[in-house]
């Protein structure tokens, strides 16, 4: 990370870094990676089985690296990266479905690798992740923003251009929908 000390990069914004990247400074991607990995990782870890978290995270950053030259800056980079993350997570589950793995498969995987309480925790995690994945997009998103990214409700409201009341209402409906999925 020696490039962080470069005068050109003293606490630069994402937009400035992307500009440098487009001008041929490919090394600034390291800084973008370093800055955004924790949030991407948290989000991926919340919805993807443990064994695949790092692979999917890598897929996201490789896709970001390849698509960055065409990033127009209409939205913030973090928003763009969040959308990319959602696409890659959906792709992960699509590929799994295409392979026609039975729904119970990940749970069996967890049981094979773990024993006792660890296996139960793993199964519960996978069960919750599947339930989350089955939720409508806006419900899933608010749960991820609050729990995976640890954003406050007022931050979520600002980001989604909603009132605080509407955000909290959406959150309650999302939790209710999750409960219904878990009860199935």
């Amino acid at each position: 990370m020696e490039n962080i000390n470069n005068p050109i990069l003293q606490d630069p914004t994402d937009e400035l870094l992307i500009q440098h990247f487009k001008n041929g400074r490919k090394d600034v991607f390291d800084l973008l990676y370093y800055r955004h990995l924790p949030k991407v990782y948290k989000r991926v870890r919340y919805v993807i089985p443990e064994n695949d978290v790092e692979d999917v995270t890598q897929d996201i950053f490789i896709a970001a690296l390849n698509s960055l030259p065409s990033f127009r800056g209409d939205a913030k980079f973090s928003t763009w990266l969040r959308t990319l993350t959602n696409h890659k997570v959906a792709e992960f589950y699509r590929k799994r479905t295409r392979k026609q793995e039975p729904p119970i498969s990940p749970l069996s995987d967890a049981s094979t690798h773990m024993t006792g309480s660890t296996s139960k925790t793993m199964e519960e995690r996978i069960y919750l992740q599947r339930a989350l994945q089955d939720l409508p997009e806006n419900y899933k998103e608010i749960i991820l923003l609050r729990f995976a990214e640890d954003l406050q409700f007022n931050e979520i409201a600002e980001m989604t251009n909603q009132s605080l009341e509407a955000t909290k209402s959406l959150f309650r409906r999302a939790i209710a929908a999750l409960r219904t999925h878990l009860e199935k």
Binding site: D30, L37, F61, I62, R125, F153, F171, R172, I175
Partner: protein, 155 residues
């Protein structure tokens, strides 16, 4: 309280949001005692979510290790990436002028083989003689094309 009222009750929304905040701060690990049955079941869902998928954070060392592995994967994928035959010869690495030259040569070969009148052989020499001359010219042109391809490949 009927279901419709519950669905539009801002007090419910606030209570559940506050509960989620407390859970995230680690201040709450069981449903609030004052909650109604409906709210209690939602709080239990939040607790279940939080205990199975607790918040995590990556330390610097982990980030750097992941970065090293990412770079290794990018290098590996770049190395393994093979361009197709058509992309290799007619893709973006081949200049438009060269592509045009190939096209002209191909048309010439087809024309010479299929139109005997383009050759210099006299009208009296017909049949196999004309065909052989055309064939030799076509083979010659094909050879030129192959030499050009070979020369490009060596670059």
């Amino acid at each position: 309280m009927d279901q419709t009222n519950k669905n539009n009750n801002p007090q419910y929304d606030d209570q559940l949001a506050d509960f989620a905040d407390q859970v995230m701060q680690g201040k709450q690990n069981q449903p609030a005692s004052t909650s109604t049955d409906e709210l209690r079941s939602l709080e239990e869902t939040i607790l279940r979510l939080n205990s199975s998928l607790p918040p995590t954070s990556l330390d610097d060392a982990s980030i750097k290790q992941m970065q090293v592995r990412l770079k290794a994967r990018i290098r590996r994928e770049e190395k393994n990436a093979k361009t197709s035959f058509w992309e290799k010869w007619f893709g973006r690495n081949v200049s438009p002028q060269l592509g045009l030259a190939f096209a002209v040569l191909a048309i010439l070969i087809v024309a010479i083989v299929s139109v005997p009148s383009l050759t210099t052989v006299s009208p009296s020499t017909t049949g196999t003689a004309t065909a052989s001359v055309n064939l030799f010219i076509a083979i010659g042109l094909a050879g030129v094309v192959l030499i050009i391809l070979w020369a490009i490949r060596r670059k």
